[in-house]
């Protein structure tokens, strides 16, 4: 068989048609990944602009740039946008693009569900920002405590937008998580046993399992709050036998695992980048993998540390304090694994690697002030002050944004086919790193001086003024750093050097195909017989894996190899569905339901539900395919 003809035929089989139909109906995971990345970056920009406006308001005492009401909506939208609509979706974007490439598959286990996940994510963001444009955005903070967020103190549509937009997002995240799990366990290339999986899979898998088990808690609390607002039910209302703390329990049972959901995939991306730029395989692969999983498991047992100041029994709180301290151990394992790998390697100081070093630095600071806030006496001093604001930003920017920037410098050349400028990249890193620390380190001090979080302004003479100026300047410098990244990205599209299949000389499968990869990913399904399939010969293992020769399986039907969950032995041939507009139409119906529920237009909600039923039925209506015997 001449491979050229096979590649042409595979291309014709897998490519997405042009035009509007192709755009709406495509199920290509690379298209889904690109859209996730772009959309999440737009939300990052929106949240960033909100932060800039907040810092303009706080730059001097007794400032009246914003009204208290506008400020409340602003900080709530900033928190929700960054935590829910940026931090997790951007990781999904990278994982959506690279998951099948990491494991040597042609697409996800459920390509249509994958596209559905993207469309619902987009629509949930549209629903949320509709509220902002209409002036009724959520305004009680991203964790939205009752009774302040209850119907008595928060009349109006604001809370309806909060509940329903987030509920739609949980649908998107849940189906995405299920897709990741099934793909990781069923579609790995033959020979890729769990002990040979790229480490990036462990972070995304752990986060996906956490999503499956933690998101329902958010759904329950959102449903309760929505029913209180719309139908006058009682869950959090003491007079009727409810308890406000029920909200806090349900919310944090979800939201602490969520912290790990938005950092563990990023940590595991770092575990892919460090070996490449240390020029050696990672040391302590098993420890790192188990550390990530252990962090995810422990993450379910620490939620009460967000509630130390609520008057719970000290005995109960002590257990959660101990649990919170225990998380230090697996996270420290990860850090030592990277440091030892770098120590024993020959590190190349690329921009991606600089971001990794920056991340390790910020992770340690964020981790150490996490030890402060995780111990009950210190927490009572600093809770609800800028100390906590500083901690959350060290953790989320340090462990989410910096690794993602590292991942962008590392993997975007695979997506665009063009390298970004290393010179501009180093400027990008240092401006962001300095801006980050200037903005957020002094906030610790503000917190210790007693400045509460979420106040729209403050009086002069409290000793906060100078520090707030420094913080605002740091925030603007940080934003400038993000702009440098955007500049570098567009420069690379126009004038960047061609990347080639493997610009960093890495070891994993995604670098074995062209940049950008063809619609079918790999011409042949690779066979994997080590952890570093592209480095085997130089590691003295001899040639074990077969990356460029192997089974095509079929160039007439969209199929891939299905393997056994643990050992990765060939088990079956899996068929893929054709492109379809049903995922888009179903997501559109769900958005109609959401608007109906928010505005109380029951006809719209019911109509959306009926349409959703018919679209899902059409989606799943497979006529039997002819099978050759």
């Amino acid at each position: 068989m001449a491979t050229a003809t096979i590649e042409t035929r595979l291309h014709r089989l897998w490519e997405t048609p042009n035009g509007l139909y192709g755009f709406l109906a495509s199920t290509d995971h690379k298209a889904v990944g690109r859209r996730y990345l772009v959309t999440a970056f737009v939300f990052l920009a929106a949240g960033g602009v909100e932060a800039m406006v907040m810092r303009a308001q706080l730059i001097k005492p007794a400032n009246h740039l914003l009204s208290p009401e506008a400020y409340n909506q602003l900080f709530t939208m900033h928190g929700m946008t960054m935590i829910f609509w940026y931090a997790s979706p951007i990781l999904s974007g990278i994982s959506n693009y690279f998951f099948p490439l990491w494991i040597g598959a042609r697409d996800f286990a459920f390509p249509r569900l994958n596209m559905f996940s993207y469309w619902t994510y987009l629509m949930s963001g549209v629903v949320l920002y509709t509220g902002y444009i209409a002036g009724v955005a959520p305004d009680r903070g991203w964790f939205n405590y009752t009774p302040l967020a209850g119907p008595l103190y928060s009349p109006g549509l604001n809370e309806n937008f909060y509940c329903i937009a987030l509920l739609l997002l949980t649908v998107s995240t849940t189906v995405g998580a299920i897709n990741f799990i099934v793909t990781a366990f069923k579609l790995r290339a033959p020979g890729m046993s769990v002990g040979r999986m790229p480490l990036a899979l462990y972070g995304t898998l752990t986060a996906s399992f956490a999503n499956v088990f933690a998101l329902p808690s958010l759904s329950v609390s959102l449903t309760y709050l929505y029913l209180e607002h719309r139908f006058g039910l009682h869950f959090f209302d003491v007079a009727a036998g409810g308890r406000p703390l029920l909200w806090q329990h349900l919310f944090w049972i979800f939201a602490h695992p969520w912290v790990y959901i938005i950092i563990l995939p990023a940590l595991s991306f770092v575990s892919m980048i460090v070996p490449t730029f240390s020029r050696r395989p990672i040391i302590g692969y098993t420890w790192n993998a188990l550390g990530v999983v252990a962090t995810g498991v422990l993450g379910f047992g620490v939620w009460v540390h967000h509630m130390f100041a609520t008057g719970l029994p000290p005995m109960a709180m002590s257990f959660f304090m101990a649990g919170s301290m225990a998380v230090v151990l697996p996270s420290a394992i990860s850090i030592f694994v990277w440091l030892v790998t770098i120590w024993h390697g020959r590190p190349v100081m690329s921009t991606a690697m600089l971001f990794v070093f920056g991340f390790i630095f910020l992770f340690v600071i964020g981790g150490v002030d996490g030890v402060f806030t995780g111990s009950i006496p210190a927490d009572w001093q600093v809770t609800d002050t800028y100390f906590v604001v500083s901690h959350i930003h060290y953790v989320l920017i340090g462990i989410n944004v910096f690794p993602i920037l590292a991942a962008f410098y590392y993997w975007l050349p695979k997506i665009t086919g063009r390298l970004m400028s290393e010179r501009l990249g180093k400027w990008n890193f240092w401006v962001m790193f300095i801006g980050m620390n200037v903005a957020f380190f002094p906030m610790h001090n503000l917190g210790l001086l007693g400045m509460p979080r979420r106040i729209y302004t403050y009086q002069a003479g409290l000793g906060w003024t100078a520090t707030n100026v420094v913080v605002s300047i740091g925030a603007y410098v940080f934003a400038l750093g993000v702009l440098l990244f955007v500049l570098n990205f567009f420069w690379s599209l126009i004038d960047g050097p061609v990347a080639g299949p493997n610009p960093w000389d890495s070891a994993s499968l995604e670098w074995a195909t062209s940049s950008p990869p063809p619609p079918y990913n790999f011409a042949v399904i690779p066979t994997v017989r080590s952890r570093d399939p592209l480095w085997e010969e130089r590691l003295g293992l001899g040639k074990r894996s077969e990356v460029f020769e192997g089974p095509v399986i079929s160039d007439e039907e969209k199929v891939t190899m299905g393997t056994t969950p643990l050992d990765g032995m060939p088990q079956q041939v899996m068929r893929f569905p054709e492109d379809s507009v049903y995922p888009f139409l179903t997501a559109l119906s769900l958005a109609a339901i959401c608007y109906g529920l928010i505005l109380g237009l029951w006809g719209l909600a019911l109509g959306g539900a009926v349409f959703a039923f018919f679209f899902v039925t059409g989606w799943l209506w497979y006529a039997p395919q002819p099978v050759e015997v």
């Binding site: 069923k186 409810g242 042949v524 299905g562 050759e628």
Partner: protein, 205 residues
């Protein structure tokens, strides 16, 4: 049996693999299992709220322990409805499409009866969802379960129509396996809802 020849380019001899394998090896079956995991977690958190407020209130449930007659009938109905569901799956494994249709219809009738009896029970309650926290939880949690039974019935309806369209045979009937698995789950989760709302108030007081 549907097969595709796979030719690994190297040392192992060419092997033959089934297309889409056995039902429990397919991605679709794994997807349904994970959906059930997340739905089960949903009910865990719903019932957690119930027990949390139970522990926090001195009088619980405020109207006194509920009458269990209709709920017991419903429990028997839903648990027994798993039997025709199971038989339907066995029929299609033996390639009996008629048997599958009959079993789906019987399962659906039992499910519909469940919904009617549940609605009767709701209408007999002396409280409304707005009365207090207990009544809100009662209607919300049984309402969640009601919605799950309704979705299960819609799934049964779709596989009934697909069966009539000739989509299933002894080898290809993953949608049937998945729907029946979901139906069993709806029955099992009701046992937990039933125990929580109808047994524990009698048992603990």
């Amino acid at each position: 049996m549907a097969t595709t020849i796979v030719q690994p380019g190297g040392t192992p001899p060419a092997i033959t693999l089934p297309v889409n394998g056995r039902p429990h090896h397919t991605a679709g079956w794994w997807g349904m299992v994970l959906l059930i995991c997340t739905e089960a977690a949903l009910f865990v958190f719903l019932l957690f709220s119930y027990f949390y407020l139970d522990a926090q209130n001195t009088t619980w449930p405020p109207p006194g322990p509920p009458d269990i007659t209709l709920a017991v009938i419903n429990t028997i109905l839903l648990v027994v409805s798993s039997v025709p569901a199971r038989l339907g799956m066995k029929s299609i494994r033996r390639d009996s499409r008629g048997g599958l249709s009959v079993c789906i219809i019987v399962t659906m009738l039992m499910g519909i009866a469940f919904l009617i009896i549940e609605a009767i029970e709701w209408s007999q309650k002396t409280f409304t969802p707005q009365t207090d926290a207990y009544s809100s939880l009662f209607f919300t949690i049984t309402g969640f379960h009601y919605a799950h039974v309704t979705v299960g019935l819609l799934m049964l309806l779709v596989i009934l129509l697909r069966n009539r369209a000739g989509h299933f045979n002894a080898r290809r009937h993953l949608a049937v396996e998945n729907t029946m698995l979901y139906w069993h789950f709806v029955g099992v989760v009701w046992l937990f809802v039933f125990t929580t709302f109808y047994i524990t108030p009698h048992w603990w007081r």
